[in-house]
Subunit: 214 residues, 2 copies
DNA sequence: CGTATCCTTGACTTTCGTCAATACTTGTGG
DNA sequence: CCACAAGTATTGACGAAAGTCAAGGATACG
């Protein structure tokens, strides 16, 4: 099990370069251990966060006890936009994560750059809708992997900071279905699982074809 | 069948009060016949629209030919927000619809009110995600009906401007599943179908319970 | 080295999609 | 006014896909 959320892990080792970079910024990097809550549902909204390193999930608990993950965010991305005065969703760290807060104008107007980010977030939510709306689990998974690969720099190797449960709650399927379809892609020679959290893409074309993003 | 989209129907009869109200506004109401395109995918974004009467669907065509409806908008609502310079989605009228355009600041900054509307739209997209992510078709349908009822003023009678196909593409299911589950609700005595486009809610509690919004 | 968590795989069941037939609605033209 | 046609909606039978339940393996941590 991970270290308890209430204890700041002593052996936390964020990349040196990122820490050094953060010292030149006006705002300090706050460290969060895996599983830590960044903000809660119902809390007062307003603060925006930028991820220096690590990964975050944005979720919501449904009445029936199920959990919907509405977004994953990785290093370099900004999150925390909300439509009302209070948070509709809660944010948690998936792995050891470093965060900085982002300045918002006090006069109630977002800067054009922040406005752009907020609207990009809306588009991302709507794109996500297209994926979850798809009927085939294999396609959903392919889109998820391609998206993650592109956000990580289009490498042939994808790092999955999240668990199968997270992926399932994100794509609207069970962890068994996630696992089964990863195995299907593996036995088709499309990808190789270096470990359960590290995927090497062997046939990008096949994966892109399955994802068929539009 | 409805009148062809290229012909402005002469017998269009928008509510008198709304037309009268529109005369006091600086911007004129434009009339659109059912099925008319308001803007297209790939078009330059920027213009926002307010619905004076009627209903609109926001959609996107997927690579496999399927269509995802990402939102319905009814009278009083504003739509047209986009994250980039071009439209990612297209908008069409569902029924005879009257639209006015909404002013945006020229200096590149949205007013606080518009910012609020844009973020509300983002939340709406994420709420929609929660619904589409649900596994059970009956629950999805219940949430859809409750949402529509609330937006129409919480009446015991819901007006459905859209077809079963629209509903299916919105909830990520086939028209047969939509129809079957409406029948299921009918035979359970939860609702009554006055016509295929007009639903009377007989047991709101049961419907709310199924929807179990959170 | 033992325990807890995470992941994978198999057997079975349920739900939903597909195909197809039929009924209802609405508009058009004789 | 009635008949026909096109679009829309409902219902049934069947099969495929995903969920559920359960067991066992892999991995990380103390």
């Amino acid at each position: 099990m991970y270290a308890s959320a209430s204890i700041i892990s002593r052996d936390l080792q964020p990349p040196r370069a990122l820490l050094a970079k953060s010292f030149t910024r006006p705002r300090p990097v706050t460290l969060h251990t895996p599983g830590t809550e960044i903000y809660a549902q119902g809390e007062t909204a307003g603060t925006l966060y930028r991820i220096e390193f690590g990964a975050v999930r944005i979720c919501r608990l449904l009445a029936d006890g199920r959990r919907q993950v509405v977004a994953f965010h990785i290093a370099g991305e900004t999150f925390g936009f909300e439509g009302g005065k209070v948070r509709s969703f809660f944010a948690e760290c998936i792995v050891s994560t470093g965060l900085t807060t982002v300045e918002i104008d006090r006069d109630g107007r977002y800067s054009p750059e922040l406005m752009e980010l907020a609207l990009k977030e809306m588009i991302r939510a709507q794109e996500h809708l297209l994926v979850v709306g798809k009927q085939c689990a294999l396609e959903k998974l392919a889109v998820f992997l391609v998206d993650l690969a592109e956000r990580q720099g289009g490498l042939g190797c994808i790092d999955l900071p999240m668990t199968r449960t997270d992926i399932g709650d994100y794509l609207g399927m069970t962890i068994e279905t996630v696992s089964r379809n990863l195995s299907k892609l593996r036995s088709a020679g499309v990808l190789r699982l270096r470990s359960s959290r590290s995927i090497e893409i062997l046939k990008p074309q096949r994966l892109y074809c399955l994802a068929s993003k539009l």
